[in-house]
Each structure stands twice: as structure tokens, then as C-alpha cells.
Symmetry: C2
């Protein structure tokens, strides 16, 4: 069985959301699975890179918004427009995801998909532990256990470890896919990811 | 006759070079022409954006080099590796191009293609006016006229105007293609440019 492909995402990244809708199907078409990894672009990566948030960069910010809206049309992405800019903390959802991967791995992706949906379609505040616990409860988890987990030092530590490990792998954006060590940044690299999986690379 | 598509490039940008090898064929396949526009990323755009050169950005610099080398293999780009980092002034070649567009438009693209080749394949110093004049001479221009043109205030002013006009259009990278007002940044958007040309957009 070949290695899973690595899928790195930030819940607050629109392109990360877009890729989350496709990555498992892409992997499955090539006999793979996708291992999801929480990343923190604004909180961690941009500090390492020494960059401001992309939306605030002259010229590029406007382009990226337009590019995202174009992607939404081309792929008929379920989303509520206008696009949100990062407007809440990604930490509670990231901690929950890291904790689920450790303790309830079968629930991690289903919960993450619902968190993405809550943020990008329902425009919910995904920093709210009660909202996150409600999502987890739909997947069979106990609400109070989940709320305690989100606030636990263990979850914070698991997320920090995931972010550090992703940085060590060179991850600097969302989405960021790694196939057998080969890195691909951006939702519009997914066609290249497919080609790489199909051909073994070039 | 539909409008030409706009192709913005910096001679020192590897992805700009890659796109220069394809853009006219792409346009022609859809009954268009490509209007080439000189841009200055390091000299002008990055100052507007407040960013350092991409090659110097932690994590992203390494990725972009790897991504460029991967593009070279996938598209069998004629190039001498390792990739050059910007290591000379793009101004003389940009001024020559802007001046040719005004005074010898039929020679502008052929000369630009040879300048790209000189930089990326022959590893020549394209800031050398004598080298540029030699290239122009191969396309029927008088060497001394060209050397004088490169040093002229008119050429500097024409390049400055081209850069200002491109900034006003939102151009912030190389390559940057605009189809009927729709902007596309990056060599790996060329497939999307083709789709947009073929379908009228989405």
C-alpha cells in the first residue's frame, strides 16, 4: 500500500476549503488515502516567512479575492459570498482536529468537513467551542468531553506539534499537498497532483 | 477581431520566460494575438507590494525554485540549470523592448525571445548594451542606433510608462496574462487562460 498523500489546510483559508472538497476523491482515484494535517497560516507561517496576510498586500490581495471567486464559479463550490477574510481564531478548531486525530481518528475528517462548511457556508464563528462541540456531537462524540478537550493543554500541544512538523516539511500555505515528498501549493495545483499520482512524476 | 491578450513579463523571471515560449501559440489557437508588455518585478512591483524577492522568503523561496525546475522537466523547457536568481539589471533589456515596440514593433517580440534565450540558456549578461545591440542586429536593426536607444531618455520613459500602466491594470507578477480584462498570474495558469479563451469564461 503506497503512503497516504499529505493534505495541509487552514480552516480560514478559502483555497484550503476548496481543496478539502476534492482531496479524498483525488487520492482514492489513485489508490491512495489523504492524511489531513491542520496548519496555521496567519498565526504561525506568516511569522516564519515575515509576510503580511495576503489579503492586505497591494495588488495581490485584490487578485487573490478575484481568483478565489473565479474558482468558486468554475467548480461550483458551495459557499456564501462574499468571501470571508480571516475574522476569527483558527486555534479552537485546529486544536479539536489535532485532538480528534489522536483520540477519535475516524471522526477527524468528518468533523473537519463540517467545520469548513460551518465557516464558509453558514458563516458561523468556528472559534466558538460550543459550536465545535455541537458539530462533534453529530459525529457521535460527547459534547462536554469535546469542549474540555478543546481547552486542554494536550490539544494545544498536539496542534503545535502538527504545525511544527508541517513547517519542517516546508509547508507554507493552504492547501499544501505532499505526494511521496513532492510538494504542491495551491488548489489549482490539484490537477498536477493528479497527474503526478497517475504518472509517478516528471 | 477580438482584442489581443496582454502578456506581461520580466526578463529575469523564470516563469515569465516559460510563458513567453507558449503565449503566442495559445493566443493563435483561439484567433487572438498576444501583446507583450515589459514589467519590472524586483525594480518596481515589489516596492509597491512591500515584499522582498520571492527567492529570499523562507520556505517559499525553496518551493518556488523546486516548482520551476519541475515545470522545466514537465514542459522540456530549453534552459541551463541551475536556475538563475535575478543577478543583473533588467532595465536595459526592458528599455530596448519598450523602444522597439514604439519604433520597430515587428522586431520587438523576436528580439525579446532572443533576450530570454540569452539570459536563460546562454547565461549571458542581458544588461550589456553591446550584447543587446548584437541581438537586435540579427533582426535587421543597426547596432549603434540600438545602443544609443537603450541609453536614451525616451527608452527609459517608455519603459516607465509601460510599468505604470501595467501597475494600473493590477499586474504584480511575471507572467501575468489579461484576457478581456480577466487577470491570470503564473505560468501554470496558462491552461486556465486557454479554457477561458475557448469558453468565454465562467
Amino acid at each position: 500500500m503506497p503512503e497516504p498523500i499529505r493534505f495541509h489546510f487552514d480552516f480560514l483559508s478559502p483555497f484550503g476549503y476548496f481543496a478539502s472538497l476534492r482531496i479524498d476523491d483525488i487520492a482514492a482515484r489513485h489508490g491512495r488515502t489523504a492524511d489531513w494535517h491542520p496548519m496555521l497560516i496567519g498565526v504561525a507561517v506568516l511569522k516564519v516567512m515575515g509576510l503580511p496576510p495576503v489579503g492586505s498586500i497591494p495588488l495581490k490581495g485584490d487578485y487573490v479575492r478575484r481568483d478565489a471567486e473565479r474558482y468558486v464559479r468554475r467548480h461550483a463550490v458551495p459557499i456564501t459570498l462574499p468571501l470571508r477574510e480571516p475574522d476569527t481564531s483558527p486555534l479552537p478548531a485546529g486544536r479539536l482536529f489535532a485532538w480528534l486525530k489522536r483520540h477519535h481518528p475516524e471522526a477527524a475528517k468528518p468533523v473537519a468537513r463540517d467545520v469548513f462548511h460551518a465557516y464558509w457556508v453558514d458563516r458561523a464563528d468556528i472559534a466558538d467551542p460550543a459550536l465545535l462541540a455541537g458539530i462533534a456531537a453529530r459525529h457521535g462524540l460527547d459534547r462536554e468531553t469535546v469542549q474540555a478537550a478543546i481547552a486542554s493543554p494536550e490539544a494545544a500541544s498536539l496542534l503545535r506539534a502538527a504545525v511544527d512538523e508541517s513547517l519542517a516539511q516546508g509547508v507554507f500555505g493552504s492547501p499544501f499537498v505532499i505526494v511521496d515528498g513532492e510538494p504542491f501549493f495551491g488548489a489549482e495545483k490539484l490537477e498536477l497532483v493528479e497527474e503526478w499520482l497517475a504518472t509517478g512524476g516528471w
